[in-house]
Symmetry: C2
Subunit: 460 residues, 2 copies
C-alpha cells in the first residue's frame, strides 16, 4: 500500500506507446475509487484489444455466435415458426447459447450429447410418469420424487467417472434436467407427449443451427488446433534447448558486450518457451477429446489417430522437464571459461543436433510422411553423443586436456596443482549428462512420431 | 486385434479376486458384440464401484444433488408455490442442475454469477425492449436483432479473456441467455416486467437451495481440498526423492534378493508419486478460483491468502521436474558398486535431509505456525550439501578416494591405471548435482511457505 504522504499515481501504457500519468496530491478517496475502477475497465479494454488483434479467429467466433443467436431468435418473430415449436423457442435459444463452442469438435460433442440425452431422458420421463399415474393421484408425487432422486444421484455419480466426464459430461447434465422436466411436468401439463416432443424438436433446431454455423462458417477444427499446438511445442522445445546451451557456454566477455535489446528479448522468449509446453496438458486432453468427434477435414481423416497425440504430448513434457532441470544449472554459472571452451564444441554440437532432430520431426508430423533426412539427423546426433562421451573420457586424463588448452590454467583450480578443479567441472558434467538424457528422450519422441506417421498413412 | 484362428477370450477380475474367463471357440460376431458391450458395462460398474468406495464423499455429493432436486421440484407439486413462481419452476430446476457443484466455492461462484447476470441482463433486456417499442412494430424486430447480435458477440468475446474466464464464465453465458430471453420474449409476452421478475425469482430460489444444501449438508470446501492437495503433493515429492535415491544407490545384491512383493509395489507407487504433482496445475488453479468465493471455514478466514498456493504449487512442480530428470538417470544405472558406496553416505544424507525439510514444511502449512524444527532441518541440509561438495572435491584427489575404498578397484576403469573411470562417475556427479539443485528449489519452497504462514497469521 502507498503511504498516505505519497501522492497517488495512476500510470498505464497504451499499445501506441502513449502513456498517461495522473498525479493527484490530495485526491479524495471516492474519486480515487472511481478513477481506479475506470482504469480497471480501461485495462480490461486494453487487454481485450491486444487479445483481439492477436487472435482474429476468436473475433470471428464471436460474430458467429451473434449470427447463430439472431438466426434462432427468428423462431420468436416469425408466426408459423413460433407456433411450430409450441411457443417454446427459448429451449432452442438456450441450446445455441450453451452448445456453440469455439471448435467444431466441441460443438458437435455438446450437440450430440444434448440431443441424445434429451431423447433418452424424455422417453424415460414419459415412462416413469406413465407408471406413476397407475398408482393414483396420492402416490404419484411420491413415486416421481423417488425416481428423480435415484436418477439424478446416479447421473451425478456417472459424471465423476473420468471416462464419462471426458465425453458425456454435458449429456449427463441434460439428462438430469430433461428427465425432471418431463416426468415432473406431467403433474401439471395436460399432454405430456406433446411437451416432450416440443422439447426434443427445439433442441434439435438449436443443435442443427450450431453445427451448421460451426462447420460452414470459418470453421475452427479442434484437430487442426491440436496439430498446431504439438508442432509449436516441438519448435519451442528445440528453441529453448539451443538457447540454454548457448547462454551457458557463451563467453562472459560476449555476455557483457552490448547486445541488441531486441535480440535479448527474443532470446529470453526462447528461453522460457519450454514452460508453456509444461502447462499444455489439459488443453491437449480436451482438444483430443473434441477432435475425435470431428468429421474428416483438411489432411485429417475421421480415423486420424488423435489419441497418439496425447502420448506425444507427454513425451514432449518429459523433454521439457529436462530443460527445466538444465535451467537451474544454467542460472548459476560457475565453470571457468577455459573449461567451457573445452566442452563447448561437443555440447553445442549435441544440442544443435538434438534440436535439429526435433525440427525435422516437425516436418514429419506436418506432412505425415517419413522424412528422408531424419535418419541422417539421428546418425549425426549419435555421433555427437559419442564425441561428448569422448570429451568426458579425455577429461579423465588430465594431460590430454592440459595439452589442448593452456596447462597453467589447470592449477588455477582449488589448491593442489596437477588436479582438475573438480567442483567447477561438476556443472559441465551435469550439463553433458542432462544433454545425453535429452537425447534419450528425443529418441523416444522419434519413435512415437514414427508410430503416429505410420498410423496416419495406414488410416488414409 | 486377435487373429481369427485364436479363440476369443473375455477376462475380467472383480474386487473380491474372483475372475471370470469366457472362451468361445466360434462365437458368432453379434453375440461377441453383445458380450463385449456387457463387459464394457460391467467394467464401468466395476470402476464405478472402486471409485465410490475410495471416495465416499462423492457418493454423499450425489445424494445431496438428488435431495436438492427433490426439494426444488416441490415447486411443481405444491399449488401455491407453483402459482407463486408463475408456473416457471423449471428455471429453478435448471439452476439447481447446473449450479450445484462438488465444492462449496464452485457452487457459490456459479450461484452469484447466475443471479447477478440474470439481474443485469433482465434489466438491460427490459430497457432494450422499451427502446425498441418506441420505434413502432416494423422496426422492433430489427432493433432487437441488432442488440442481440452486439451484446451476444461482446459477451462471447469477454469469455475469452483469461481474467473473465476464471471467475465470470458462467455469468457471461447466463447474461447472453437471459438478455435474449427477456428482450426477444417481449415480442410475444404481454407483461415483460412480470416475466423478467419471475425468471429472477426462480433463479434466486434455485441458487438459495444450492447454497444452503451445499454449505449445511456435509460441505466440501474448495479451500480444504486445495490445502490437502498441496500437503499431499509435498509428501509425495519427499517420498519420491527418497525412493529414487535409495533405488539408485542400493547394492545390486540387495536388488536381486527376494524383496517382498508388497514392499516392491509400495516403493513403485512412491517412485511415480511425483508425476501426479506435475499434472495437478489445472486442478490447483480451479480450486484457488473457487476457494476465494468461500466464507471463513475451519482454520481458514475469508481473507486466507489462497493465491499464494498457486506459487507454492508452481515451486513444487519445478521440484518435481528435477525428480523427473533424476528418474532418467536412475533408470540406466552404470556406476560401479564401489563408487556408489563412496557416494552413498553423502547422497543419502542430502536426500533424506531435503525430504525431511519438505515433511517439516507440511507441518508448517498444516498448522500455519512456524515450526521450531525447521531451522535445524535447514542447517542439517546445508551441512549435507557441504559434505557432498567435499566428497566431490575429494574425488578429484584420487588418492583420497583410493585410500578410503579399495585402491585396486580404481584400475578396473577404462584402461589406464591411476585414472578414475570418468564416464562411470559422470552419473554420480549428475546425481549429486541434481540433488544440489533440488536443495536450491527446496529453499525456494521454504521461503514461499514462510511468506504464506506469515500472511495467514496476519490475516487472522
Amino acid at each position: 500500500m502507498a503511504k498516505e504522504s505519497e501522492p497517488l499515481e495512476w500510470r498505464m501504457s497504451f499499445p501506441d506507446g502513449m502513456s498517461m500519468l495522473f498525479v493527484s496530491e490530495c485526491m479524495p478517496h471516492t474519486a480515487g475509487f472511481v478513477v481506479g475502477l475506470l482504469f480497471k475497465y480501461l485495462g480490461l479494454m486494453q487487454s481485450g484489444w491486444r487479445y483481439g488483434t492477436s487472435e482474429p479467429r476468436k473475433i470471428v467466433h464471436c460474430f458467429k455466435v451473434g449470427m447463430a443467436l439472431c438466426l434462432v431468435s427468428l423462431f420468436y418473430y416469425v408466426g408459423p415458426l413460433y407456433e411450430g415449436v409450441g411457443g417454446n423457442a427459448m429451449w432452442a435459444v438456450l441450446t445455441v447459447v450453451v452448445a456453440f463452442e469455439y471448435t467444431v469438435g466441441a460443438t458437435i460433442c455438446k450437440c450430440v450429447n444434448r440431443t441424445t440425452a434429451t431423447f433418452i431422458a424424455g422417453a424415460l420421463g414419459i415412462g416413469v410418469h406413465w407408471v406413476a399415474t397407475r398408482f393414483g393421484k396420492a402416490w404419484e408425487p411420491i413415486i416421481l420424487q423417488v425416481s428423480v432422486f435415484v436418477f439424478a444421484s446416479a447421473a451425478t455419480f456417472l459424471r465423476f467417472l473420468p471416462s464419462v466426464k471426458a465425453h458425456f459430461d454435458h449429456g449427463a447434465l441434460i439428462f438430469i434436467f430433461t428427465f425432471i422436466l418431463v416426468s415432473v411436468s406431467g403433474y401439471r401439463v395436460p399432454d405430456l407427449f406433446d411437451f416432450a416432443q416440443h422439447r426434443l424438436s427445439n433442441v434439435a433446431i438449436g443443435t442443427s443451427i450450431c453445427v451448421v454455423t460451426s462447420i460452414f462458417c470459418c470453421p475452427v477444427w479442434a484437430g487442426n488446433e491440436l496439430h498446431s499446438l504439438i508442432l509449436s511445442n516441438m519448435e519451442k522445445l528445440a528453441d529453448s534447448l539451443d538457447a540454454y546451451v548457448a547462454v551457458y557456454l557463451r563467453d562472459d566477455a560476449d555476455a557483457d558486450a552490448d547486445v541488441d535489446d531486441m535480440k535479448k528479448e527474443a532470446s529470453k522468449e526462447k528461453l522460457i518457451g519450454y514452460r508453456s509446453v509444461l502447462d499444455s496438458m489439459s488443453t491437449e486432453e480436451s482438444l483430443v477429446n473434441y477432435a475425435r468427434w470431428e468429421p474428416a477435414h483438411g489432411g485429417f481423416s475421421f480415423k486420424h489417430p488423435w489419441k497418439d497425440y496425447l502420448e506425444l504430448g507427454a513425451l514432449l513434457r518429459s523433454y521439457a522437464n529436462c530443460i527445466d532441470a538444465l535451467s537451474g544449472i544454467v542460472s548459476d554459472t560457475k565453470a571457468p571459461a577455459f573449461l567451457k571452451k573445452y566442452f563447448s564444441t561437443a555440447c553445442l554440437k549435441l544440442s544443435s543436433n538434438s534440436s535439429a532432430v526435433l525440427r525435422e520431426l516437425v516436418v514429419v508430423v506436418r506432412t505425415s510422411a517419413e522424412s528422408p533426412k531424419i535418419g541422417l539427423r539421428l546418425k549425426d546426433m549419435c555421433v555427437a553423443v559419442q564425441e561428448l562421451h569422448n570429451a568426458l573420457k579425455a577429461l579423465s586424463n588430465q594431460k590430454t586436456v592440459a595439452t589442448e588448452t593452456k596447462p597453467e590454467e589447470f592449477s588455477e583450480g582449488k589448491g593442489e596443482s596437477n588436479v582438475l578443479p573438480f567442483v567447477a567441472i561438476v556443472q559441465l558434467v551435469t550439463l553433458s549428462s542432462l544433454l545425453i538424457e535429452i537425447v534419450a528422450r528425443t529418441e523416444k519422441i522419434v519413435k512415437a512420431v514414427n508410430i503416429l506417421a505410420h498410423k496416419v498413412t495406414s488410416s488414409e
